[in-house]
């Protein structure tokens, strides 16, 4: 009974907190909300009909977006594997693992858009900056997850291999990798889906891809053109999700 009462107090407090925060953010301001609805209707009307004359241009930009996502995810993945291994406590001593994890943690604190701004400064405008941004963001995310997967491998299997005198490279290749490959690849697909979405907005800061045109059309109020872009992105994301679902079903059985 005591535990139950404590639980309901916690839930109540959480709801109260939510209400307070929503109030501060303007959710209980009826005039703003009703004005918002009117704006939304106008905006939607302005988008119809979508301007399809920009399709060739937008197609090229979209292709660049996919290229950035592919290259960025792949590069990040290639870096995440060794970093994940180095961050695995079953293989390396704690101080070493901690250092690796702190580095990965620092990389993870920076969102992909901020990486894009940084790389635009470093390597200039264009898709190179966007690709590097996605690669770094991917490392921060995947390296941490992979280290956790690798650590989750049944310790008995690791012990048995250590028992025959296998070194760390062997352990990584013959025990850690085959035991966690499914989850590793599954997360890689997830990351690719995420990076497709993320790379669509990197162009906002000049880091290549379709985002550049989105921002241009937004600034010039060309909502009919913007509508075309949005529909293309929607189609792409949907296609990628379907593709990765299919790959998962076909090649990554959950056993």
């Amino acid at each position: 009974m005591k535990a139950l009462r404590r639980e309901s107090i916690v839930y109540g407090a959480l709801l109260l907190l939510l209400a307070l925060v929503l109030g501060q953010l303007g959710f209980f301001d009826p005039t703003r909300l009703s004005r918002g609805v009117v704006n939304l209707i106008t905006f939607s009307k302005d988008m119809i009909p979508p301007d399809v004359t920009i399709l060739p241009l937008a197609g090229r930009a979209l292709f660049e977006t996919v290229q950035m996502a592919f290259a960025g995810t792949f590069l990040g993945f290639l870096l995440s594997l060794p970093l994940g291994i180095l961050g695995t406590r079953t293989l390396f001593p704690p101080p070493f693992v901690l250092t690796v994890r702190v580095i990965v943690g620092v990389i993870r604190t920076i969102p992909s858009l901020l990486w894009a701004v940084l790389f635009v400064i470093v390597v200039g405008l264009g898709p190179l900056a966007g690709t590097l941004a996605l690669a770094f963001y991917t490392v921060g995310y995947l390296a941490k997850l992979y280290a956790e997967f690798f650590e989750g491998v049944d310790p008995e299997i690791v012990e048995a291999a250590k028992g025959v005198g296998a070194n760390r490279l062997h352990l990584a290749r013959f025990v850690i990798w085959p035991e966690s490959a499914n989850s590793v690849l599954s997360q890689l697909l997830f990351m690719f889906e995420y990076n497709i979405r993320a790379s669509a907005i990197l162009g906002f800061v000049g880091a290549g891809g379709i985002g550049f045109y989105m921002q241009a059309y937004l600034n010039t109020l060309s909502y009919q053109r913007l509508a075309t872009l949005l529909m293309m992105i929607f189609a792409l994301v949907l296609a990628m999700d379907l593709l990765s679902t299919w790959i998962r079903k076909r090649y990554l059985p959950t056993t």
């Binding site: 012990e159 291999a161 028992g163 005198g165 013959f174 056993t255």
Partner: protein, 269 residues
Amino acid sequence: MRSPAAVRAHDVWFTYGSPPSAGWVLRGISLEVPQGCFWAILGPSGAGKTTLVKILAGLLTPHRGEVEVLGLPIEQGRIPQHLRQKIGYIPQQLGLVRGLTALENVLLGSLGRNTGLLPVLGLFPKADVKRAMEYLELLGIAHKAHEKVFRLSGGERQRVAIARTLLQGPKVIFADEFVSDLDLLRAGQIIETMRHFVKRDGITFLLNLHEIQLVQEFADEFLILKEGTIVYQGEARSLTMSLFQEVLEYHGESSPSCAVGALGNRVDL
């Protein structure tokens, strides 16, 4: 008349917590296993059998006491590679890599010798591949060599684990109840096969085993472990169910520190 000891433990104490607040899992274990002998360790669950085997195999470090294998001291993390290779270890769940084939799992046994980059690329010395196949043949599962382990049955997996340990070329094998998932008949077949190999190659074999019939039939000597102490030691032929129960009951009422055979001396009742 005995050959020199292959495994020697002296006054081994162990706890998973921090002593002395946590209870001791092992309390002053001493034993001496002669070379080429097959010893079985019996005891109720929680008696410390797994812990003892892991300590002897050098996978855990005791808090007090010494362990020697083949005349060399064992300490976790500080086992010279040439000794590491001479110690085989089969864990309770076998420790096979499910996503690799039977043959690949057997070849893992040779990693102590093949330390270079070639094995990482999947290239093992021809001689090792040949021997691995021979062991699979002798164990009757050569036709499953290229099957992934997760497709194999329990008994087939046991054979893969045995082949892996044999390919390692050990002088001592420690095994932790690795047949307990099988029915008695199959478990008997596995132990018999194992006995054949260890006797042929003069390997010392220490095994945690539940089944009294199997101990009686295949082992040379047995120990009974209870609450972290050796309470009885005897010739395997002399083991019966009633003896086992008597020993456990007798020691249920007395303090473990007064146990017979706690210092590894043979006690014939």
